[in-house]
């Protein structure tokens, strides 16, 4: 072997070795290899949420709570409450009551740990002029800002994730990072989402939001009561959405938007329970669902309790 003689090839080999070394050096700089970054690799190799057993989920949650604790300097609980049997959550929104105050929108932000800079809102309230066409949403105004609401010539329509029974976003996701839970809530595993945003293209309701940068929120503003599939702090580069406040509703509480509504326009309950308020609304009011022509079967019902 003439590998190490000073032939032309030899010099080339040296250069090649140099390049190899340089490449390794670069890789070393880019990828954390020391012990302190062990959780980086744990996170990297974390399995799909639905494929983990209870022990593995417990370990992941422990790691997440540690990471969040270090980041926000406070104890954050990551829950993993399962869907209750015999429960299918449904939502009702009385358009005749809504005054467009956006209390629900901001209560949602407080509850669900959305980024404040840039702002991410899971609820969008649209304003429509009375007497104009409205169901195609084309004439709606999202950025209305009057002194006082309600304005006499307008009415309002809040839109959030419709928790479709036939969700186009779930069908679109190439990695199964989003799915429909047994209680009907469409959830996202923020540790499995690759951030391709195909679900956002697929969603007919503008319900999905992307973390275009590292979500920013002051530690004192962090709600420490979280759920793995819900309001735990998110990452840069993943999609997030309304989960009907899974961290609350699976513990028998109302979603934050329902509690915040000053006029009682928001109803919530178990669609499988004939005695529930939501079932009463569906059976006794004139309900409709948004973009029913798309056959997404939302579990979010709009209705008019009394004449507008």
């Amino acid at each position: 072997m003439k590998k190490f003689t000073r032939t032309k090839e030899g010099i080339q080999l040296d250069r090649r070795n140099f390049l190899k070394g340089a490449a390794l050096g670069l890789a070393g700089a880019a990828l954390p290899l020391n012990k302190a970054d062990a959780s980086f690799w744990e996170a990297f190799f974390q399995k799909h949420f639905q494929e983990m057993n209870e022990d593995e989920i417990r370990d992941v949650i422990k790691r997440l709570e540690r990471e969040y604790g270090e980041k926000y300097k406070k104890a954050i609980k990551v829950g993993n409450e399962k869907a209750m049997p015999g429960v299918l959550f449904g939502y009702g929104l009385d358009l005749s009551r809504c005054i467009g105050c956006r209390r629900c929108e901001y209560a949602c932000v407080e509850e669900n740990n959305q980024s404040k800079d840039p702002q991410i809102h899971w609820i969008t309230v649209l304003r429509f002029k009375k007497g104009e066409k409205w169901i195609d949403l084309e004439e709606s105004e999202k950025y209305y800002n009057p002194e006082l609401v309600p304005e006499p010539d307008y009415f309002y329509m809040p839109i959030q994730c419709q928790q479709c029974e036939n969700p186009p976003c779930v069908k679109a996701c190439p990695t199964q990072a989003t799915w429909k839970e047994p209680d009907g809530i469409v959830v996202i595993d923020y540790n499995w989402c690759i951030g391709c945003r195909y679900c956002m293209a697929a969603c007919p309701y503008g319900a999905r939001h992307f973390n275009w940068t590292e979500p920013k929120r002051a530690p004192e503003e962090i709600n420490p009561a979280t759920h793995y599939l819900g309001n735990r702090p998110r990452y840069k580069g993943v999609v997030e959405k309304c989960t009907f406040c899974i961290q609350r509703t699976r513990n028998g509480r109302y979603p934050a938007c329902v509690e915040a509504c000053p006029v009682g326009a928001r109803k919530f309950g178990n669609l499988l329970d004939p005695e529930s308020e939501i079932r009463y609304a569906i059976e006794h009011k004139r309900v409709f669902r948004l973009k029913e022509d798309l056959n997404t079967y939302p579990k979010f019902y709009y209705f008019f309790a009394y004449g507008v």
């Binding site: 990297f44 799909h48 494929e51 840039p118 969008t124 649209l126 195609d136 949403l137 084309e138 004439e139 709606s140 999202k142 839109i159 186009p168 069908k171 679109a172 996701c173 190439p174 990695t175 199964q176 990072a177 499995w192 989402c193 690759i194 951030g195 391709c196 945003r197 195909y198 956002m200 293209a201 697929a202 969603c203 007919p204 309701y205 503008g206 999905r208 939001h209 992307f210 973390n211 275009w212 940068t213 590292e214 990452y235 840069k236 580069g237 993943v238 999609v239 798309l294 056959n295």
Partner: protein
Amino acid sequence: MGPLIRNFFIALRQIFVGGRSYYLWVGFLSFFVLLGLSAYVDQLNRGLITTAMRDQVSWGLYISNFTFLVGVAAAAVLLVVPAYLYNFKPIKEIVLFGELLAITAISMCVLFIMIDMGQPMRVWHILPFIGAMHFPASLLAWDVVVLNGYLAINTIIAFYVLYRLSIGREYSMAVIGPLIILSIPWAVSIHTVTAFLYNGLSARPFWNASILAPRFLASAFCSGPAIMLILFQIIRKKSDVEIDNRAIFKIAELIAYAMGINLFLLGAEVFKEFYSGSIHSYPMTYLYFGLHGKSSLVPWMWAATIMNITAFFLFLFPKTRENFTTLNIGCLFIIMGVYIEKGMGLIVPGFVPDTLGEIYEYSPTNAEIIITIGIWAAGALLYTFLLKFAIPIYTGKLRFETKDSRGIKPQPT
């Protein structure tokens, strides 16, 4: 296998051999690759907020380029059909360069997808078995399958042909024939699946039209061959490769037919949208006339339409398609026209107006443009290297001895 690998590296060394202009070219491209890379590192650190994409328009320049390049890759098949099936000699001799272009275009597609991802480290989640590929429900999973399959098929065909040439043999159709036959429907499939990716979304009326996939194919069969025509002229000028004028004119003729179909389908789309005039015509109104005073794509779309129509006539008449000045003008018009039409002109109106009726005008940031140029430079670099590797073998300048090529009796003439 040993000598094969050794010979591969000997051939690979060709990419370091070249004159001053070659090194200048490589240096020029490398500069833009590095520039793009630095912009990408910043995007990795700060997130996709360095782009102009937002929740309303959640795909932009990157996915536009991806879509255009899938078309370029699919168009390699336009050369394969006459070359292998009808044995049209002039094209058969150059089909290899089309396949190398397909390899390059698919590699660029992969890069454009990678840089568009919010969490590129998690890309393995999309793979079958080790990840959780959502097959067959997600069309994006289908796209992963067909694009990688197409890359594999073209790589195998191109490198097998090169290998046979390198030892001075004709390639055996028994070995490669089935793959070539397979590559034809496969090329159609990559573009069809990519069209279905958008087509399947009922939330986006602009994409949710049956005409999308046929139009994709028609426009791809214009832009891909137009790029090849330019490349062929460069290749035969810069190397010893001989490319028959007849091949070039034949491809130009095929482009004319494809562009004719593309324009007809566009007309069908325009008629349906504007004659019926439902709310689903808003995206197309936005494209060609602007909506609520927002009209940033309008001049681009009209430019694209005029360029496509002009190119159609240039390629339709033998007189202009067999004149290299008008031929090249036609090629440039088609490349630019289809790049606009099947890029931003296809992706952005899918999101304008958005599903809640909002109009967010997307216009790519400098960071996005620099990264995009970086990937185009990387693609040009890859194609240059592939040519450097392939041309000496193709022209017969580089031949390897094998055990059975030694001591062969010369055939009597």
